[in-house]
Structures are given as C-alpha cells and as structure tokens.
C-alpha cells in the first residue's frame, strides 16, 4: 500500500520536536561564540567590533580564555532559572 501524498502541501511542518534539535541549537550557539573568540587571534589587542563600540563591557571579553568557562557557568545558571520557572509553571 502506498501513501497518498496528493493531499499534502509542498511545505509542511510537523508537531513533534526532536530533542536533538535543541542540542544542535546549543552546540551551534557555543560554536558561534567560540569562533567569535578568533577575533582576538586575528586582531590581538583590538576590541570586538560593534559590540565593543556600543557597550564598553564587551570590549575586552575576547581577551581571556576565562570567558569560555564563565559562559558555560552562565548557561548553567540560566538553565537553573529556566528549569525552576518551567517546573513551577508546569506543576
């Protein structure tokens, strides 16, 4: 028996969300921020363009490897708050 595909539109979106998609999103974000650190390698001593000009705090973010680790901690604390709110709302 073959599926009847004539009633399907050309573009569809499913209701289910695979959990790996969120993981991929997270990895992409971390990778993008990590690649942003390449700026420091290519242009040592210079502030991050745009960000550094708008907010002085972002000027030297790429100057030390500690920010890689602090980024992970910040994501962890963010997850904590998000989980807490999510669990309370769901409960």
């Amino acid at each position: 028996m073959t599926a009847d595909t004539s009633s399907l539109p050309e573009v569809t979106i499913g209701d289910d969300e695979p959990s790996s998609s969120r993981l991929l999103l997270l990895i992409s974000t971390v990778a993008a921020l990590g690649l942003l650190m390449l700026h420091n390698v290519l242009y040592p001593g210079q502030d991050l363009p745009v960000f550094g000009e708008l907010v002085p705090l972002f000027g030297g973010l790429a100057h030390s490897g500690i920010w890689f680790f602090l980024l992970g901690t910040m994501i962890g604390f963010g997850l904590m708050i998000a989980t807490l709110i999510g669990e309370v709302v769901e409960d």
Binding site: S64, G72, T73, L79, M80, T83, E90
Partner: protein, 526 residues
C-alpha cells in the same frame, strides 16, 4: 593561668555542662524552657511564620536548596580566584561596570561563600537526620524554613561586604555575622527540641555531633563576650562546628546507605569526645597565639588526630560491611571519599599548624592549597553526599536522574582531586623558587590545570542543582518501604532491665538480630 588555659578550661567545663543538660534535661524548668522555646520559634514570629509552609521536610529542603545554590556560586568564584592566580588581568574588562575586586577581596569572598554554602547544606541534612533518628519530625519546620532565608540574606550581605573596602564593608560583614549567629541559635534550639521529643530512644552519635557542632561555636562567642576566650580557642570552636557537622552527616549517610550499623561504638565515642576536648588545626593557620601557649597547643593539635583517625576507620569499616550497597550509592561513595580525605587533611594541617606556631613559616606557601583541600575535599564532598542522600528523603521524591547524580559525583571527585594536586604542585614550585630567590612563572601551567579542573566542581554543583529542581516535581515518589536498606545489627548484647522495641530498633536491631542478655550477678542470685 594564661588566657589560653582559662579559655580552654571554660570550653571544657561548658562542654561537660552541655552534655549533662542534653542527656538529663533541665531539672524543674524543662517544661517551661520547652514551651517558651516553642513560643519564640513560632508564635512570637507573628505573620513571619506564615510566610513559609510547615510541611514535613520543608525546613530541611529549604536549607539544602539554598546551600546548593550558594555552593554553585561559591564554586564559580573559587574557579575565578584560581584563574586570576595565573592571569590577574582576566576580568579587567568588568571594571567598566565597576567590578574590580582585589586579590584579598576575592579570596575573602570565596572563603565566606564556600564556608557558608557548605554549612547550609550540612545543616539541611542534619535537620533531616535528627528528625529521622528522633522519630518525631523537626520541632518547628516553619521556623527552620524561615531561618534558611535569614541565613541566605546573611550570605548575600557578606558577599557584598567582602567586596567593599572601608567602614561600610566592615558594617556589612558585622551584620552578616550577627545574622549567622541568630540563625544558628534558632537551628540549635530546633534541634534540641526535636531531640527532646525522641522519647526513650538513645541519642545516636550523629545527633551528639549535630548538637555539639551548633552549640560549641555559640559557647565560643559566649566566651568572647565574657572575656574568657583566646583567639586560637575561639577559632577552634568555629572549626569544630564544621568538622563535627560533616562527621555527623557522614555517620548517618554511610550506615544508612550501606545498610549496616556503625562498626564500633567505642570509636564513635572517641570521635565525639576527642573532637570536643582536643583542638583540630584545620584552618587555624593565622590564629594569634598568646605567650607560652605554643607547647600545649602543639600537644592538642597532635592529639586531635586520634578522633579523626577513629572516625575514618569506623566509617570505612562500616561501609565495608555491605560494600555492594555503599559503593553502588552515589551519596555514600562521595561521602566516603570525603571522609577518607580527612586523613591527608589532618596530617597536613598538623604539620602546617605546628609550623605556623613555631613562627618558622617554612610551610607558609602551602596554606592556600591546604585551605582549598579542607574546604572542597572532606567538607565539600560530605556536604554533597549529605544532600544527595537526604534531599530525596526530605522531599519524598527521588532525584530526577540517577545517572546525572552519578555524573555529579565523578565530576566533583575528579575536579577536587585534580585541582588540589595541581594547586599543591604550583605552591611547592613557587616555594622552592622563592627560597632560591628566583623569579619565574614556572608554576603557571599547574595553576591553569588547577583552575580548569576545579571548573568541574562548579559544573557538578549546577548538574546536581538541576537534578534537585526537577526531582522535587517529577522525581519518582518514595514509598515508606523503599527509603533505603534497613540498618540492622547481626548481634546485640543487653544488660538486665526494661527497654522497648523502639529503643532496640533505634540502636540498630532488626527482626533477624540475635539478642543476648548478659548478667554478671544473675547466676550468683540464682
């Protein structure tokens, strides 16, 4: 008589008096004291007591939740402090938003955060332990929960105060200290009231250690107010509180998870009374010693190894009775790892403490890594084990993921051990270079390894916290039958007299326990 001897005698007499009062109660005034304490803990708070729920386990849960949150923050600050040791300018960009702590301020903040976070976790576990062993529940759950917020507020004040130099920083640190004192008084009264409701059950080693760990620091404060204290004795009371509370939790977690009673009653007694009467040199490296106290203090430092060795042997042998059960439990494993770490800590601090007394200061460069080891090794790991074991029982639900709990155990264990080894190596290299009057950054790779490996502890804390949050709402409910393996003794000996089944079960008897009544005079009387 020197101030040191007077202070020591005051503490010893106070300890004996406390022991007698806890054991025998307060004659005549017992009911009055109990009723007044209950009134001040609940009714006198007015609407404040209604702010928190008084459900069973809520007090313990609140302390552990707050403690774990501060643990994550403390571990993050600890990581930053280690990183700044090899790259002091790493966070200079934060000066644009006004955050530029000095090395001393960062060190002070890490010390304050880590000590109080671990203390909160241990107190939370102790509330559950005492309620369980007393068989009555905590005397005032709402007071315990409310006081956890007070203590947390104190930590926040202390954190801000430790970053501010000048009078305002001092004011905030003083306010934080008063907050801790008030909260600890409330917890101590709560514990005493709980123990008062235990009926005829004997007081277990964990309960003795819990009560003394809360009362001895308060007696140290009282001694200071009365002018009969000495800097080293006062420091020792604070240190005693933390060590005794950690051992109290270990004396409950390991037997309960192993499903076996404590291996030796004598070693338990030696642990309790040895800790009370001798001064452990943990964290006493900068105590201001009076004239002529060094000899006696050295003797007391050395004797303090006896209760530590006794506790470690007793707990390791207890875990060994049912090794399968204890090794398969994350909480028992991490607690046992923390207990074993007491040995290098005790021996190491003895050497460093005696070196500090002798004013030779040949081991001064090891003080920082040793403080790191004491805080995050035995104390931190036992606190994590206490939370892993007691939080599910207090909430009535298992932690959300057993594998996540196991990962937290491995991350914390590896992180602490690696960072301690690297930190010690760096300190030894720095010490050798300093002695040779050579300037070099040879220790930098080891400091980098120390900071990166300690980052694992921070991640372990966050993972456990997430596990706890999810576990409260979605964890598997614990039925009364599966609250862990029953602790039963194979054989017990009794002397003639009357007792109850409840007392026997509290002492570790089970349905299969063989009970022998030993009577020396019975045959003569027959």
């Amino acid at each position: 008589m020197s101030a040191f001897t007077t202070a020591l005698l005051f503490m010893w007499v106070s300890v004996l008096l406390t022991w007698a009062l806890v054991n025998r109660g307060i004659p005549v005034f017992q009911d009055l004291a109990r009723d007044m304490s209950r009134f001040f803990m609940e009714k006198a708070l007015g609407p404040g007591a209604d702010l928190v729920e008084g459900r069973p386990g809520s007090g313990s849960r609140a302390w552990m939740f707050h403690g774990m949150l501060w643990f994550c923050i403390a571990a993050t600050f600890g990581f930053i402090e280690l990183w700044l040791a090899h790259e002091p300018t790493a966070l200079h960009t934060l000066s644009t938003i006004g955050y530029a702590p000095t090395t001393d301020q960062m060190s002070s903040a890490v010390g304050l955060l880590s000590y109080n976070a671990i203390w909160m976790m241990l107190v939370g576990a102790s509330l559950h332990i005492n309620a369980r062993l007393s068989g009555s529940g905590i005397a005032s759950e709402s007071n315990a929960a409310l006081v956890s917020y007070l203590y947390s507020g104190g930590i926040m004040l202390g954190l801000i105060g430790s970053h501010i130099s000048g009078d305002w920083g001092d004011y905030m640190l003083t306010a934080a200290g008063i907050t801790y004192l008030l909260a600890n008084v409330a917890v101590a009264v709560n514990h005493l009231l709980t123990m008062g409701e235990r009926g005829d059950s004997p007081i277990q080693p964990s309960q003795w250690l819990i009560v003394f760990s809360l009362i001895i620091p308060l007696l140290g404060c009282l001694g200071s107010l009365l002018g009969v204290s000495n800097d080293s004795v006062y420091h020792s009371t604070v240190t005693f509180g933390m060590v005794a509370m950690a051992l109290a939790v270990a004396h409950y977690v390991i037997p309960s998870k192993a499903g076996a009673p404590l291996w030796s009653r004598t070693l338990s007694g030696v642990t309790i009374f040895g800790l009370l009467f001798f001064i452990t040199p943990f964290k006493m490296f900068d105590a201001d010693l009076g004239q002529g106290t060094a000899g006696l203090l050295t003797v007391l430092y050395t004797l303090s190894l006896i209760p530590i060795f006794a506790a470690v042997t007793n707990l390791v042998r207890t875990a060994g009775i049912h090794w399968d059960s204890s090794s398969s439990s994350s909480s028992a494993s991490i607690t046992l790892a923390g207990v074993v770490l007491f040995i290098p800590v005790a021996v190491g601090t003895l050497f460093i403490g005696v070196d500090a007394i002798s004013l030779e200061n040949e081991l001064g460069h090891l003080i920082d890594p040793m403080t790191h080891l004491i805080t995050w090794g035995p104390l931190g790991m036992i606190a994590l084990g206490g939370v892993m074991a007691c939080f599910p029982a207090a909430t009535g639900r298992e932690l959300f993921s057993a594998s996540s709990t196991r990962n937290s155990f491995w991350l914390a264990g590896i992180g602490v051990l690696l960072s301690v080894m690297a930190y010690f190596s760096a300190a030894l290299v720095d010490g050798a270079l300093s002695e040779a009057e050579v300037t070099s950054d040879a220790s930098e790779p080891m400091l980098i390894l120390a900071s990166i490996s300690f980052y694992l502890v921070s991640i372990a804390g966050i993972m456990l916290m997430l596990n706890m949050i999810k576990g409260v709402t979605r964890g598997t409910p614990i039925t009364s039958d599966d609250s862990g393996p029953a602790v039963t003794a194979d054989r017990m000996t009794l002397t003639p007299g009357s007792t109850s089944i409840r007392s026997l079960m509290s002492a570790g008897a089970g349905v299969d326990t063989e009970i022998a009544v030993i009577c020396d005079r019975c045959e003569e009387e027959e």
